[in-house]
């Protein structure tokens, strides 16, 4: 079992290294992995890309997804999207496997309430009025000064 998982992680690493070289990730780029069909979650993520890049002083973001809606609509949300790459479900799983082995970078942000494995954000939704937008901004994008009253719709 461990060997199989390590194999997936190695494949994920290989994918990541190619991405790093292609987009010069180390020079201020964040990679958004968007593997979910959750429309509300995805919209919040796309709408806050500019907040993310401003807060992190980033050059821009690269989006990786296999979700049709994201591929068709993401470009309209921000001009900080440097690239929008379509990837397969298997590639997503391999990249997540590498991330589940260890959080090898802070530049990979997974737009999900359940992934990577062990992510408990889905359990926090609704507690004390916590919204998906809160979870995206605070817990996925780590915009520390986010408060719903100041930035929410």
């Amino acid at each position: 079992m461990i060997a199989k998982r390590l194999g997936a992680a190695l494949a994920g690493r290989s994918m990541w290294m190619k991405l790093k070289r292609k987009y010069d990730v180390d020079d201020g780029v964040y990679v958004l992995l968007m593997p979910e069909d959750d429309l509300e979650l995805n919209e919040h993520a796309l709408r806050h890309i500019d907040d993310l890049t401003a807060y992190r002083k980033a050059r821009g973001v690269v989006i990786l997804t296999d979700r049709a809606w994201v591929l068709e609509n993401a470009g309209a949300y921000s001009d900080k999207i440097l690239a929008l790459d379509e990837v397969t479900e298997r590639e997503i799983d391999n990249l997540l496997s590498f991330f589940e082995l260890y959080a090898f970078t802070e530049r990979l942000l997974v737009v999900s309430l359940t992934k990577p494995f062990g992510n408990k954000l889905h359990k926090t939704l609704g507690a004390q009025g916590v919204t998906k937008e809160d979870l995206v901004c605070l817990c996925i994008f780590l915009i520390r000064d986010w408060t719903e009253t100041e930035r929410g719709v």
Binding site: I2, A9, W16, K20, F104, G118, A127, V130
Partner: protein
């Protein structure tokens, strides 16, 4: 901060000190955070003090952090000055921070030192992570070997005794609701074990902190549906930690809701009362203390702040002027009694009974405050004003009344410029009590 990160921090700082890289330098901490205190404590043990704190977070600029005003990096570091050393402890942002400093002329490993483990995609780091996973798998199997089929492994990975106390308040109900009768309860220190025992938790195993982390980590990597319950919100980078302090999610709430999945209707299950009169009487006799007229000082905290020494001395003088006996709770050789007081050690299992007998408690917020929260003594608890804990102040997150642990404590936020007001509040709270 997880246990492994703490070990790495200490090792890196020790190495810097031994190489003379901090000598005669103006030391700045990059990041006014909960972790800053860890760095400051470690530097202090090595004989160094920090000269400033810088942060990019606009909310923190100008606030007090460990006795200093937080500054913007540009305001503190420009124009360029070779006499600065900047220490970074940020697993999540160290690359951005070093890049920002590099653009200002400060180079890594000369002016800028990263104190966290520099995680990257390199083969050695990946191999290290794989080795930890394998260790975690072995540790899990060894712990669960021989246990009945539906047994559960509970892991309390943090050394804080206050966490264990909170866990204890909900643990029995969690077992009942989930039909759990067989379990292994893992903690990472003897003190945590003692607190767990207060609640009647059994089959407690003490493991090294790294082992606890390895098991949690392995489960995530293998995506195994192991019957493991991690008794902490947001451990090892799990993202729900960033909700701490947001929308009223204080210490008790995050454990109640995110660790145990309970709503507000579940009451606390306090630890069973124990008859500790004999042990308590022995301690009072040994240290010459007075029942109902003893003030117990608790100046030490692993995670929060320190009150200045001269203020403690004034408190001691005032208490003695009221005719009270005064002692300092000292849990180890490194914890010295405040001048003019008796050093007293009492085991955590005795803490509530001891404080019930003493009558008064004055301490900085620590896990001990959770453990004695149900004591009948007059409790005066101090917090660092402007101390940030994730999304709120330390008081907002750890306040005993707010958590519902007790409604009779005097809880005071301290900052140097309001010390006289704080001292007055303490004096007002210290009124002679009727001896029961």
């Amino acid at each position: 901060m997880d246990n492994r990160s703490r070990e790495i921090l200490r090792r890196k700082l020790t190495r810097l000190a031994r190489r003379g890289l901090l000598r005669d330098k103006k030391i700045l901490l990059f990041g006014a955070s909960f972790f800053s205190r860890e760095v400051k404590n470690c530097l202090s043990e090595l004989g160094f003090a920090i000269d400033g704190v810088i942060d990019n977070d606009s909310r923190k600029i100008g606030i007090a952090c460990m006795g200093m005003r937080v500054q913007r990096p540009e305001d503190a570091l420009l124009p360029y000055d070779d006499g600065f050393v900047v220490l970074i402890l940020s697993g999540g942002f160290y690359r951005e921070m070093t890049r920002q400093l590099r653009l200002m002329g400060y180079s890594e490993n000369r002016h800028v030192f990263v104190l966290n483990f520099k995680i990257d995609e390199s083969p050695p780091v990946m191999a290290y992570a794989a080795a930890r996973t394998i260790r975690g798998n072995a540790a899990y199997r060894k712990l669960m070997q021989g246990m009945p089929e539906k047994s559960v492994l509970f892991i309390a990975p943090y050394t804080g005794t206050g966490d264990i106390y909170l866990i204890g308040l909900f643990f029995r109900e969690y077992l009942r609701r989930n039909g759990i009768s067989e379990y292994v309860f893992v903690v990472v220190s003897g003190a945590c074990k003692k607190v767990a025992e207060m609640f009647g938790i059994w089959n407690i195993v003490v493991v090294k902190p790294a082992v606890a982390d390895d098991m949690i980590h392995c489960r995530c990597f293998l995506r195994e549906d192991w019957p493991v319950v991690v008794l902490n919100d947001g451990w090892l980078g799990e993202p729900s930690q960033w909700l701490r302090g947001y929308k009223g999610l204080h210490f008790e709430k995050v454990f109640r809701r995110f660790v145990f999945g309970f709503d507000d209707s579940v009451p606390f299950a306090l630890p069973p009362k124990m008859d500790c009169r004999e042990e308590t009487d022995a301690l009072f006799l040994k240290h010459g203390l007075k029942k109902g007229e003893t003030v117990v000082l608790s100046p030490y905290s692993n995670t929060l702040f320190d009150l200045p020494g001269d203020l403690w001395r004034r408190i001691v003088e005032h208490c003695k002027g009221l005719g009270y006996a005064v002692c300092t709770n000292c849990a180890g050789a490194s914890e010295k009694a405040i001048a003019g007081t008796e050093a007293v050690f009492f085991p955590l299992s005795l803490a509530k009974a001891f404080l019930d007998a003493a009558g008064y408690f004055i301490g900085v917020r620590s896990g001990l405050c959770d453990i004695i929260s149900a004591s009948s003594c007059k409790k005066i608890v101090l917090y660092e004003k402007d101390g940030f804990f994730y999304k709120c102040s330390s008081y907002a997150y750890f306040g005993l009344a707010r958590m519902g642990l007790c409604g009779d404590a005097t809880e005071i936020e301290y900052r140097d410029d309001i010390r006289e007001g704080v001292f007055k509040e303490i004096k007002d709270a210290l009124r002679p009590r009727e001896v029961n």
